[in-house]
C-alpha cells in the first residue's frame, strides 16, 4: 500500500518536460491513483451503509433508537412523495439562502472598504473581534426579542452567523495583498479604482471564498438550531418534532436531509471557488 511519503515524493515532470510530453499529460501512476481514490471513497460510503443496516438488525444497537437504514430510507421516500419533505426543506432553504446572500452582499463591500483605509480598520477591528466571538446562537433570544419569532429573526440570525466569516476574510484578503503586485500596479500608473478591480480584488478572492465557505456551513448549522427552538416548519423543526413523537426513522431521514443539504452547499461553493481560481495549483 503506498504511504503518504511515497505518494507525495513521486517524481513530477518539470514545466519544460511536461511541455515536451504533450498537452495535459499526467504521469501514468497519477492516473491510476485517481481511479483508485474514487473506488475507495465509494467503498467507504457503502461500508457505512452496511454497518448502519446490520448493526440494528442483529441487535448490536437498540433498533428502536437507531433505525436500520432501510427503514430510514422508507421514511424518507414517504416524506418525499407526500411533499412534506419539500415543505420543510424549502422553508429552511429560503431562510438560509436569504441570510447567506444578504451577508455576502453586505460583508464583501463593507470588508473591502474597511481594509482599504487602515485607520478605519484599526478602529473597527477590536469591535469585530468581539462580535465574531459572540456565538450566533447565544444571541438568538435577543433576535427573537427584537424581531419576534417569525421569518425575520431566523433570516437575521443566519445573516449574523454568515456575516463575520465573510467580513473578516474579506478584510484579511484585501489587506494581505502582495505588496510587490501593488508596486507593479503603481509603476504601470493604474488608478486606485483600477488597481482594486484588477489586482486587489482578484488577489483577495481566494481568501474571501474561504470565508464564504465557512459562512455556508454556518448558515445551515445556525438555522437548524434556530428552527429547533422556535418554528413551525423547517428541517430543524422536523427533526425535533419527529423525536418528540417517536417517529425515529423520520427523524433520521430529516437528519440525512440536512447532511445532503450541507454537502450540496459545500460542494456547490467549492465548485464555484474552483471556477474562479483555476489559476491555482
Amino acid at each position: 500500500m503506498p504511504s503518504l511519503l511515497a505518494e507525495r515524493t513521486e517524481t513530477q515532470l518539470n514545466p519544460r518536460q511536461a511541455q515536451a510530453a504533450g498537452p495535459r499529460v499526467r504521469t501514468e501512476r497519477a492516473g491510476r491513483a485517481r481511479a483508485a481514490r474514487w473506488t475507495r471513497g465509494l467503498l467507504g460510503i457503502v461500508a457505512l451503509g452496511v454497518v448502519w443496516q446490520l448493526a440494528p438488525t442483529y441487535g448490536l444497537v437498540d433498533p428502536y433508537f437507531v433505525s436500520p437504514l432501510s427503514e430510514v430510507g422508507a421514511a424518507w421516500w414517504d416524506m418525499l412523495t407526500s411533499g412534506r419533505l419539500w415543505e420543510h426543506l424549502s422553508a429552511s432553504l429560503v431562510r438560509s439562502a436569504g441570510g447567506f446572500l444578504l451577508a455576502v452582499a453586505i460583508a464583501i463591500p463593507l470588508g473591502t472598504a474597511i481594509a482599504w483605509y487602515p485607520p478605519v480598520r484599526q478602529l473597527v477591528s477590536p469591535v469585530l473581534e468581539l462580535f465574531r466571538n459572540t456565538a450566533a446562537l447565544a444571541l438568538l433570544p435577543v433576535f427573537v426579542l427584537v424581531l419576534g419569532i417569525g421569518e425575520t429573526s431566523k433570516i437575521a440570525i443566519v445573516l449574523y452567523a454568515c456575516f463575520f466569516p465573510i467580513l473578516l476574510n474579506t478584510i484579511s484578503g484585501v489587506e494581505s495583498v502582495d505588496k510587490q503586485l501593488l508596486r507593479s500596479a503603481r509603476v504601470l500608473g493604474l488608478s486606485s479604482a483600477t488597481t482594486f478591480r484588477k489586482v486587489v480584488f482578484p488577489a483577495a478572492l481566494p481568501t474571501i471564498f474561504t470565508g464564504i465557505r465557512i459562512a455556508g456551513a454556518a448558515a445551515i448549522l445556525v438555522l437548524i438550531a434556530a428552527e429547533m427552538i422556535g418554528a413551525t416548519a423547517g428541517l430543524g423543526y422536523l427533526i425535533n418534532y419527529s423525536q418528540y413523537n417517536f417517529l425515529i426513522p423520520q427523524m433520521y431521514a430529516a437528519i440525512l436531509t440536512t447532511t445532503a443539504l450541507g454537502l450540496a452547499v459545500n460542494y456547490g461553493l467549492v465548485a464555484l471557488e474552483r471556477r474562479f481560481s483555476r489559476w491555482r495549483s
Binding site: P15, V187, L188, K198, A203, W279
Partner: protein
C-alpha cells in the same frame, strides 16, 4: 542604437534620501541616511549597471527613478524634467516575480497593455503575443505563473515591461533568484533584446560579473551612505558571436577593478546614524 548614446536620459543630482528610524527600546528618532550626495547620469540607449554591496541603497535609487518615492534632497530628472511619479515612459522589472498569478503568461502582458489603454482587445492580444515571442515563450502563452519556472516568469515580466515600449527599463536584480545557467542565458537574451529595441536600461545587481557582462558602463556604489564612487567604461568585443566573453582577460580585469572598489571596508552603521536633536 548604441551609436545614439551620449545624451543624458536620466540624471540624479546630489540626491539624498533619509529615512526616519526608531530603534527598539530607544525613544529618540534617528535619521538613517540611505543615499547621500549621489550623482549619476544615464545616457540615452545605454545599459548602465549599478553594482554595490547588499544594503547600499541600489533599490532606493531605482525607487527614485521609477517615481515610487521622492528624494529628501536633490533632483531626479528624466529628459531634463523632474520625476513626479510613476509613468509609462519607464518600465520596471523587480527581483521578486510580480506576475498576477490568476492571469496566464499572455494575460499578464495584456494587463500592462490594458493599463496603457488605447488599444482594442484583439490588438492587445496580438502585441502580447509579439512580446512573448521576443522572450521565446510562444509555447507557454496559456500557462499560469505557477506552471512556469523562475526563468520563464522573469522572461514574462521583461516582456510585460517592454510591451508598452517604455523609453527606460529599470531592472532591480531581476535575475538574482535564478540558477547560474538560467541567469547567464537571460543575460545574453537581455543584451539581444536591448540591441533590437534600443531601450535605455538601468540594471541593478550585486553580482560583479553580471554588471561587467551587461553594462556598457558600470556605476559602483559604496555603502552607507550610498553614493556612486566610480564609473567604469566597459569595452568588450561582443561582436564575436559565441565567444565566451566572461573568460577573456579583459573581462577578468574589469571584474577585478570593480572587486577592488567594493572591497573597501564599509563604515560602521552607528557612524552614519545621527541623533535628531
Amino acid at each position: 542604437m548604441a551609436s545614439l548614446a551620449g545624451a543624458s536620459k536620466i540624471a540624479l543630482r546630489d540626491v539624498r534620501q533619509v529615512f526616519r528610524v526608531r530603534a527598539a527600546g530607544d525613544r529618540a528618532a534617528h535619521e538613517f541616511v540611505a543615499l547621500d550626495g549621489l550623482d549619476l547620469d544615464v545616457r540615452e540607449g545605454e545599459i548602465l549597471t549599478l553594482v554595490g554591496p547588499s544594503g547600499c541603497g541600489k533599490s532606493t535609487v531605482l525607487d527614485l527613478v521609477s517615481g515610487l518615492s521622492t528624494p529628501t534632497a536633490g533632483a531626479v530628472e528624466i529628459d531634463g524634467r523632474p520625476v513626479s511619479g510613476p509613468g509609462l515612459d519607464r518600465g520596471v522589472v523587480f527581483q521578486q516575480y510580480t506576475l498576477l498569478p490568476w492571469r496566464t503568461a499572455l494575460g499578464n502582458i495584456e494587463f500592462a497593455l490594458e493599463a496603457v489603454g488605447g488599444r482594442r482587445k484583439a490588438e492587445r492580444r496580438r502585441v502580447a503575443h509579439e512580446y512573448l515571442e521576443l522572450v521565446g515563450l510562444t509555447d507557454f502563452a496559456d500557462r499560469y505563473p505557477h506552471e512556469l519556472s523562475g526563468g520563464m516568469k522573469q522572461r514574462v515580466a521583461i516582456a510585460r515591461s517592454l510591451s508598452y515600449q517604455p523609453e527606460v527599463l529599470l531592472m532591480d536584480e531581476p535575475f538574482g533568484a535564478l540558477d547560474a545557467q538560467t541567469r547567464e542565458r537571460l543575460q545574453e537574451e537581455l543584451v539581444q533584446i536591448w540591441r533590437r529595441t534600443g531601450t535605455t536600461i538601468v540594471f541593478i545587481t550585486h553580482d560583479i560579473e553580471e554588471a561587467v557582462f551587461l553594462g556598457q558602463r558600470v556605476a559602483v556604489m559604496s555603502t552607507r551612505p550610498g553614493k556612486v564612487v566610480e564609473i567604469i567604461n566597459v569595452v568588450l568585443d561582443r561582436t564575436s558571436g559565441d565567444a565566451d566573453i566572461r573568460s577573456t582577460a579583459e573581462f577578468a580585469a574589469y571584474r577585478h577593478q570593480i572587486w577592488g572598489h567594493l572591497r573597501q571596508p564599509a563604515p560602521a552603521y552607528r557612524a552614519e546614524v545621527h541623533r535628531v536633536a
